[in-house]
């Protein structure tokens, strides 16, 4: 061997340094960040989510601006019901993407301590979800402004519960992204994960509220007078404890009260229930990742 000793020593030193540094958490986060941000689907979903937030809020504020007692800040969460689907889908696609394309083999060869990949992905999805949420809320404010201006009602974002409702709305959009990621990471296949996520957040609540109507009979005539003792009914309680309704409670004012016939969780309680819904599949995904083969 006549290779320059100095060079090989330097090369050995570089290799040793690289091995020594290893896949540290910041570096795993950086790699996940690149993977999520370089996908076209991420950009498209973000754009559609923000545009949908503007359109729905604009239309709904315009529609209700004719009502007496129109409050522009109350129209702010109107677009959320639709834009939350954007961040949910984003999370599911990030969670299942590598298992669909086969890139997970490279990822878990590079990072054999698999859990840090899931943790890094959670961080990245939460950050992207927070960015999308911030843009969607700005879009919602812009959507309410024309209706507020036409009625000469100033839009005060610092009054009453509005700051808390805005924060709750952002947390809801962000949380939906992480919930999608958790379900996607757990099931690893796009169609089952997407079906479960959409069922849990959108379809089951509709089914249950139709069912409660069925059991209680269709609403006839004026609603009964509110009494202090409201009888709890099991179906409404179940609806209030599902992730969709629990998360939505974060976006409403604390005095609004919850679903009729269900215990009122309040914004903080709603957030905690929603958090539990996120943690459950996330922990299950971590356990599956740690103990089972990645295929």
């Amino acid at each position: 061997m006549t290779a320059p000793a100095a060079l090989s020593a330097r090369a050995r030193g570089r290799d040793a340094a690289a091995v020594h540094r290893g896949p540290t958490f910041p570096r795993v986060v950086a790699s996940e960040w690149t993977k999520v941000l370089s996908l076209r689907s991420t950009a498209w979903i973000a754009i559609v989510t923000v545009v949908v937030s503007w359109v729905v809020t604009y239309l709904s504020a315009n529609a209700s601006s004719g009502d007496p007692g129109f409050d522009p800040s109350a129209s702010l969460p109107d677009g959320l019901a639709l834009s939350q689907i954007g961040t949910l889908v984003l999370g599911v696609l990030v969670g299942t993407g590598e298992f669909r394309t086969g890139a997970f083999r490279t990822t878990f060869t590079a990072v054999p301590r698999r859990l840090s990949v899931l943790a890094a992905r959670t961080v990245v999805v939460a950050v992207v979800g927070a960015l999308v949420a911030a843009l969607a809320l700005v879009a919602a404010v812009l959507g309410v402004l024309p209706a507020a201006r036409s009625r000469d009602i100033p839009l005060d974002l610092t009054a009453d519960w509005t700051p808390q409702m805005l924060l709750g709305s952002a947390l809801m959009l962000l949380g939906m992204a992480v919930l999608g990621l958790a379900i996607g990471s757990l099931l690893r296949r796009t169609v089952p994960a997407m079906t479960l996520a959409l069922a849990l957040v959108f379809v089951v609540p509709v089914a249950l509220s139709l069912a409660s109507e069925l059991v209680a009979g269709p609403p006839t005539g004026p609603a009964p007078v509110e009494t202090d003792v409201v009888e709890l009914d099991p179906v409404s309680t179940a609806v209030a404890l599902l992730p969709g309704d629990a998360a939505f409670r974060m976006t409403t004012d604390p005095e609004a009260g919850g679903v009729d016939g269900a215990p009122d969780l309040g914004p903080v309680g709603g957030g905690l229930v929603f958090g539990a819904w996120i943690l459950l599949p996330l922990v299950a995904a971590g356990v599956r990742l740690r103990t089972r083969d990645v295929t």
Partner: protein, 267 residues
């Protein structure tokens, strides 16, 4: 040498039949339709008491809202399977006229969905027998009951075809699934939060309005009384859904005819 037989619709049907029945997802989604339809009915039946003002038929068909998701997935997977696996190249080399494939998929999805929905309905009727006896709710006691039972099968079949059309059009299962759920469920919820003449009219023109087929006369009257939009009646609502299915199938056929079949294939 034996002369090659031409590509004909029956032969395309046979090849699509093999594809549809040889993948696990068809069996799983069909099972999903049956289990959700029966499971929701029996679960809800536990809460029904005498004098609730409900009817036997509305209990039996109560699972339709969840079951429609499984029916949608069934259609979406038939519509996108070729693109997801890359076998569209083979399929359309064998059938260069392309449209017979979509026609065959439509016929097969409709057939599978009708059989699945009938089985699901039968299961829901059977599992609630004891509960309906205990509460005195006869199956066909209210007006419009038989229409609701037929509507259950018709609605689930139409939703499966909507999924097929969305899948064939978008060529991606995730996109078709999200699009289908938005059209059937989410937009309706968003519009319901802002009731008014415009919102109610828009709701009456969404495909999900077809679920009115699955209601008996009393429920239909209460739904329509609560809406400021057009009163379509059950069959009118069914026609709106049918128009959506047909419209999306036509757009999917146009894309199939004019666009490269490799567009949207995962490679």
């Amino acid at each position: 040498m034996r002369p090659a037989r031409a590509v004909s619709l029956p032969r395309v049907l046979a090849s699509e039949w093999t594809k549809v029945t040889s993948v696990g997802s068809t069996v799983w989604t069909a099972l999903g339709v049956v289990l959700t339809a029966a499971g929701v009915a029996v679960g809800l039946g536990m809460f029904v008491r005498v004098g609730d003002g409900t009817s036997g038929v509305s209990l039996v068909v109560s699972g339709v809202v969840v079951a429609q998701l499984a029916a949608l997935v069934l259609g979406v997977l038939v519509g996108t399977a070729d693109y997801a696996t890359g076998s569209s190249t083979t399929t359309y080399t064998a059938v260069p006229r392309r449209l017979p494939v979509l026609a065959a998929q439509t016929l097969l999805t409709a057939a599978v969905a009708v059989v699945t929905a009938v089985v699901a309905l039968g299961a829901a009727v059977l599992v609630t027998v004891a509960q309906r006896d205990a509460t005195g709710l006869a199956l066909l006691e209210t007006d419009g009951s038989s229409r609701a039972l037929v509507g259950f099968v018709a609605y689930l079949t139409a939703v499966a075809l909507l999924g097929l059309a969305a899948g064939a059009l978008l060529r991606s299962p995730a996109a078709a699934l999200v699009g289908g759920v938005v059209l059937l469920v989410v937009l309706d919820q968003v519009l319901a939060a802002n009731p008014g003449r415009v919102a109610d009219t828009a709701r009456a023109l969404l495909p999900g309005v077809g679920a009115r087929l699955v209601r008996d006369d009393a429920q239909l009257a209460s739904v329509e009384a609560a809406s400021l939009g057009p009163h379509l009646g059950a069959w009118g609502a069914g026609l709106v859904l049918a128009a959506w299915v047909l419209g999306l199938l036509v757009v999917a056929a146009v894309r199939l005819r004019t666009d490269d079949v490799l567009t949207g294939v995962r490679r």
